[in-house]
Symmetry: C2
DNA sequence: CCCTTGGTAGCATAGATATTCTAGAATTAG
DNA sequence: CTAATTCTAGAATATCTATGCTACCAAGGG
């Protein structure tokens, strides 16, 4: 019944992601997104209440695209434990280059600033909780240990380590080469062997 | 003979670093730095030609503070090779919290944009070259291999890995806890053992 | 004591940018 | 065909920032 949209939320968030990965989140201006999407500025305000909101949505949408698959990988049993999860971000980066750059090269804090509408605060909070819980669960199953230290170790293995290995490539705008998977696998295996040797 | 300065270059760069780590490089505006330093805006233009210059100087100064010590650590023989270098960034972060946050949480590209005055381009280029050479040299001495892959592996071990392990703490505004050193040491040792097992 | 040098102070200007607002366009139910 | 609804368009306004500019300040040498 209504006029069909030319610029959906999704279209505009895509454009916003591209602006951010090209010039950093600081360069996300309404004008820049409008140019990137080929839309007039007014159309952006039709979908988003403010620049701040759009910036936050950009982050939340990218994280929401990444996280479910990652959590599945986290629950998958692999040998050594965590290998499947640690490889997931690298593989995901190949199929989602823009969103991956956003997530790896910047931080939540660069996008989600002060006051946000309920919907976004809730979405962001839910994502954080889900991820934290999934990692804790993994730490218990992998290390049989529910201490904070075990969770930190798990976070390092499955997130920080692969991100570190990819970072330079994503910064250069290229997909992570095959060697990254090998390096990650080697590191996870090495650390797993080292710790089981302590038993 | 002249009037004694109230705001030196150093003062202002310090303030700029603090602005960046608090709100990201995008928040580095002349006004923000002026407020942080307690100076009027005009005083900043007395020292720096433009906002872009100040931003670039902020990065160059932080990197220049980090790099010499790191290079010394890189040349230091340790067992396994690279352990001393990999631990250096973590220790340095404890004594230089603001500069470390800047270097770990953001990238050169977020600071050093397009056109820069000769002095800065040269300083930035020299830093990059020195670091690259030092890492290559380390890669040869540690792995006996001057391939690009060896250099990438070395970079991962001594820079990306420790940065990844610290990142969350620096983002939260706290110094890296002792567990980080242990994790880094464990990872470097594990990977060194794994690769020597291949011989 | 005055002049020179390097500095501070902060208002004034120009250019961006965010945000608002009004007019009109595209659809379909009735 | 018309009303109701959702959207596009983009000009107009309000803010924010970077930068330029002028007046004035402090110290030491002559």
């Amino acid at each position: 019944m209504p006029r069909p949209p030319r610029f959906t939320r999704e279209n505009l968030i895509d454009a916003a992601v591209r602006v951010c990965v090209q010039n950093g989140p600081g360069a996300l201006t309404i004008g820049a997104v409008a140019r990137m999407a080929g839309a007039p500025t007014g159309s952006i305000y039709h979908r988003f209440a403010s620049r701040e909101d759009l910036l936050a949505e950009t982050w939340v949408a990218s994280m929401a695209a990444f996280q479910p698959g990652f959590i599945v990988a986290l629950r998958q049993r692999s040998e050594p434990p965590g290998l499947a999860a640690a490889l997931f971000p690298v593989q995901w980066a190949r199929s989602h280059p823009d969103a991956a750059r956003l997530l790896v090269l910047y931080r939540r804090q660069d996008f989600v600033g002060g006051e946000l509408p309920e919907r976004l605060r809730e979405a962001a909070g839910k994502l954080a909780t889900e991820l934290g819980d999934a990692i804790s669960e993994f730490a218990v199953s992998a290390f049989g240990d529910q201490s904070l230290a075990a969770k930190q170790r798990a976070t390092f293995l499955v997130l920080d380590l692969p991100n570190a290995a990819m970072r330079r490539y994503l910064a250069a705008g290229i997909g992570p080469p095959q060697g990254v998977d090998e390096l990650v696998a080697e590191a996870v295996t090495a650390m797993s062997t080292a710790s089981s040797a302590l038993d």
